[in-house]
C-alpha cells in the first residue's frame, strides 16, 4: 500500500481513537449512572426509543469502531501472523463492514 494510503489509514485510526475515547467514557458513565437503582430492559428502551441525541451518539460510536478496529486488526495480522497484502486488507475491510452493519442494527433496535 502506498505511503499516501498508509498515512491516511494511520490518521483515520488516530482520529477514530480520539472519538472512541470520548464515546467509551460517556457510554460507561451512562451505564453506571442509569442502572444504579436497578433498570429493566423496558425502562431502558423507554428512554432510548425516539431519542435523536442517543441515536446520533451511538451512530458516531459505531462508525468510529468500524473505522478503528479493522485498521488495528490489519496491523495485528501483519505483525503477529505475518499476514499482509490485499487478501489481508480485504478481510479486515470485511470485518469493518460487519461491525458497521451489526452496530447499525443494534442502534436501530434500541432507538427506533
Amino acid at each position: 500500500m502506498s505511503a499516501w494510503a498508509e498515512t491516511r489509514l494511520w490518521l483515520a485510526q488516530r482520529a477514530s481513537a480520539a472519538v472512541l475515547a470520548l464515546c467509551v467514557a460517556v457510554h460507561l458513565a451512562t451505564m453506571i449512572f442509569a442502572v444504579r437503582g436497578g433498570l429493566s430492559a423496558a425502562d431502558l428502551l423507554g428512554r432510548t426509543r425516539g431519542s435523536v441525541g442517543w441515536a446520533a451518539f451511538y451512530s458516531v460510536f459505531v462508525i468510529a469502531v468500524a473505522i478503528h478496529a479493522p485498521i488495528g486488526l490489519r496491523t495485528v495480522a501483519a505483525e503477529w501472523l505475518g499476514w499482509r497484502g490485499r487478501v489481508a486488507d480485504g478481510a479486515c475491510a470485511l470485518i469493518g463492514i460487519a461491525l458497521l452493519v451489526l452496530g447499525a442494527r443494534a442502534v436501530a433496535a434500541v432507538m427506533l
Binding site: 505511503a3 499516501w4 498508509e6 498515512t7 494511520w10 490518521l11 501483519a78 505483525e79 503477529w80 499482509r84
Partner: protein, 237 residues
Amino acid sequence: MSTLEVKVWRGGADGRFQTFPVPRRDAQTVLDVVTYIQRRLDPTLAYRFACRVGMCGSCAMTVNGQPRWTCRTHVTDVARKDTLEIAPLANLPIVRDLVTDMREFFDKWARARAQFQPTKTRRDDFARIEPASPARRAIDVAIECIGCGVCYAACDVVAWNRDYLGPAALNRAWTLANDTRDGAHRERLAAVAGDAGCHACHTHQSCTERCPKHLTPTASIAGLKRMTALAVLRGEL
C-alpha cells in the same frame, strides 16, 4: 581477585554459548572482557570494535540479554553474580560469534533517504540557520547518533516487521526533515511514511531506553508521524 564466568556466543545463527573464565579487574568494561578472551584464551573469537571510547558505534553486543555499547559498559554495572552472557546484536544476521551483518541496518538508512540532498553549490553563500530556531533545536537533540545498532536490536517492531526501517534510520531522516538546506523533503517523507516507516512504530520506547547516547528516536519518529500527516492533509504527499 575474583573470576568472571563469561558465556560467549560462538558460531552462526545455529551456534551455542561457550563459557570462559576471565579475571575481574578494576574499571573493566565488557569490551575488555571480550578482548581478554580473544587475546589470552581463544584467538578464533570474532568480534568488532574500533575506537574503544564510545564514538564509532562498532562494538555493540547483547550483554545479559540487553543490547549495549560494550566499550562504555562496565562489568560491575551488568554482571550478575560474577557471570556475563555476551551474544551478537538481535534483529541482525550473525556473521560469526559476536559479529553481525550490519548491511540491512545501513541499507535502511538509504531507503529512508537519510542522506543530505544539497540545494546549493560551493559558489553560493553559507546557509544561515538560527541556532535557537525550533527546526535547529529538533536536529540538535537527534544528531549525535553513532550508528551502533543498539536501538535496532532493541526494537520489537523490527522483530515483527522485517521491512521496518528502524529507529536509527528514521531518527536520521527526522534530522534531515528539519534541515532547511535539504532539497529532498517531499521524497523523504514519502520514503519514511507507511507500514515499513514511521507509522509502524508502536511507541514502546525500547530504542529510547537503550540508546547509549541518550537520544530519543521515539520522539523523532513521532515528529515524522506529525510531519507526514500534515503533508497528507496539505496534499503534499
